[in-house]
Amino acid sequence: MSNATFNGKKAYNNMDAVFYPNSVAIIGARTDSERELKTGWVGKLTRFDYKGKIYPINPKAKEILGHRAYPTIGDVPDPVEYAIITVNRNLVANAVKECISKRVKTIHIYTGGFSEVGTEEGIALEKELKEIIENCDCRVIGPNCLGVYSPSGGPSFDPGLPKEPGSIYSISQTGVGSRRLIRLAMGKGLLFKKAVSFGNSIDLGANDFLEDALQDSDVNLVFLYLEGISEGQRFFNILRKCAEQKPVVLLKAGMSEAGKNAVASHTASIAGDKQVWEALFKQTGAIKVQTLEEAVEQMIALQTIRPLKGRGVGLIGRGGGLGVIATDMCESVGLKVPQLGKKTRKSLEKIIPASFGSTVGNPVEIGLGHTGISEQYVDGLEIVASDPQIDCLISFLNPADYIHFGFEGWAEDTINAMKKAKGIINKPIALVFLPGLNSEVFATVVEIQRKLFEHGIGCFSSMDTAIKAIGKMADYYEIIAD
């Protein structure tokens, strides 16, 4: 007997049946092919090119979207690893029982209308489900959730998501924190190994998936969206362990007002949910973000920028004013913009002609005319990076100027320059590639940003997002190095 149990079950240290099932039954597949194809699970799996077997379950159908249908899951002749329950909430309990009899390994209850609606009936139905699954061997995701996106051979809650797996693991209580996040992230080129939206979590919850993320050696970054947490101590311990090994970006939404009544000590009267979550961030090193957009920028930084060893930033770019703004922003997030050493300034003077608009202080304005990118640009980055006071480079370029002045080949020049810089400089580098507000420029710049990301170059649309993300990285590496 294993002593590590949860809900009376063996600790879940193998999520294979959750993320890589070889067969999926959809209980409640629709007979209306067009609707099923567009919004049903048979449609989602087919359009996602799910390679395993698909068994639609519907007593009124013989075949749905080319797959033979069965009246009940018990009628399927072969074993079924994974079942998705999409029927009306009053029929869910019975469907779960049938799955248990069929020895399904993972049950995903897609249907909502349980404790989350707050009605007596919803709460009672959920309680019934908990009782039904109490002593079974299967594991349950949900109810009231999107379930799983697993591009390396599993199902997907959205057929339009990339089929190519990456190295991010997204764990989310709600659909917004998973589907919308992945949609935003894919636009920037970020790819996921696994994603799950676990809803009311009558069985598997954030802690189980976080443990899986810790153990999965393909995963190097975790995103977590939470509104509340059960088993707080277990969560605290796993999170601390996980963040030590791979960064965890945590979006905690909503604050609890519970536990504020009947306090007898001064300490308890001062303390609140907010302070405790703040403490959790400081102790575990989990990186705090407040919006999905911020989460995406933070993940871009973590996937492309080397770990920071200190807080000294070298700012290099065009536009003296932008440099001053960036300096203030750096200071406000705890980064430093130190004065460059004598040796560094001397070397910079050699490559930067003392002409209009060039300075060799920090921020460094490399006077390269309006083209912005040239051989000297990379040399300049290298010289600044060699200064012992500098731990990280942030360069800012304004491609709207290149387009405005009608330069050719600047996009390739930028990509090549950054690739070269990344190859020869072993300190963290980020590029702020300002998209401007003109729609034509915007589209071009976003496309180049994506290409830069594909080459492993951290590229951001604003000074603000870049500096915030890098500031938080500095905090993170400081906490885990301590």
Binding site: G228, S256, V276, A279
Partner: protein, 238 residues
């Protein structure tokens, strides 16, 4: 009389149906956690008080000991800076009379007599139980800093060593501990060790629901708990 161990103190309080420990019980419990607490003894009579006063050496502080009195000063139950046996005898009578008058239903166990601590930088270490995460520790500067400015930091139990280091340095008033303008520099490592001992202690005793160690006097070579208030979780009686 031998001192009770932590388990015995907790059981005694719970068996009497109480959640709030007396000052003496609170201090005995915290001392058992390995933390330096000011010597505080209970006198059941005036004579006993004078005897304790002579043993501890003057000046001393006298406070009412009653399970029904939660705000001792308001009830006239505290006398500071007592310099002699004569003063201590008078203080004993005055305290008992004042409490009897202001809170007639209070049963008076006697008066606690404790050493006057030499002045130091006042800090607070507190603990409460969060509904989601369990025990959480708080650190801050004592006195008005905690009451008015709420210059405090929190950490979830169990704390790692770096957590105790960081939570002390995180408060805005940290320079006051670090020898601001030629003042005595507090030994921070002693405060860190107190915090870690308490983290370990509350981890062992889930019956403890909240406490305030306020103030703790911090010095360049020592730190001592001067007042303590511990509250148990009554629902957890099993």
């Amino acid at each position: 009389m031998t001192a009770l161990n932590s388990k015995e103190i907790i059981q005694k309080v719970l068996s009497e149906g109480r959640s709030l420990l007396t000052e003496k019980e609170s201090k005995d419990l915290i001392r058992n956690a390995g933390v330096n607490v000011i010597d505080t003894r209970l006198a059941a009579s005036k004579e006993e008080a004078i005897c304790i006063g002579e043993q501890l050496g003057y000046p001393v502080v006298a406070k009412i000991s009653s399970k029904e009195v939660t705000h001792k000063s308001d009830a006239g139950g505290v006398k500071l800076g007592i310099q002699s046996s004569e003063e201590l005898g008078n203080a004993y009578d005055e305290i008992c009379a004042s409490v009897a008058e202001k809170i007639p239903k209070a049963s008076i166990e006697g008066v606690t007599v404790q050493q006057s601590a030499r002045p130091g930088v006042e800090v607070i270490v507190g603990m409460f139980t969060d509904a989601q995460f369990g025990p959480v520790l708080m650190f801050g500067l004592g006195g008005i800093f905690v009451e008015v400015i709420k210059d405090v930091s929190f950490r979830i139990v169990p704390l790692a060593q770096k957590d105790s280091k960081r939570m002390i340095r995180e408060i805005k008033g940290y320079p006051l501990l670090d020898g601001y303008r030629g003042q005595e520099k507090v030994d921070i490592s002693i405060l860190e060790s107190i915090i870690l001992k308490l983290s370990n202690f509350v981890g062992q005793y889930p019956e403890i629901k909240e406490f305030d160690l306020n103030p703790i006097f911090a010095y360049c070579d020592d730190a001592v708990v001067v007042d303590a208030r511990v509250i148990l979780n009554v629902e957890d009686i099993s």
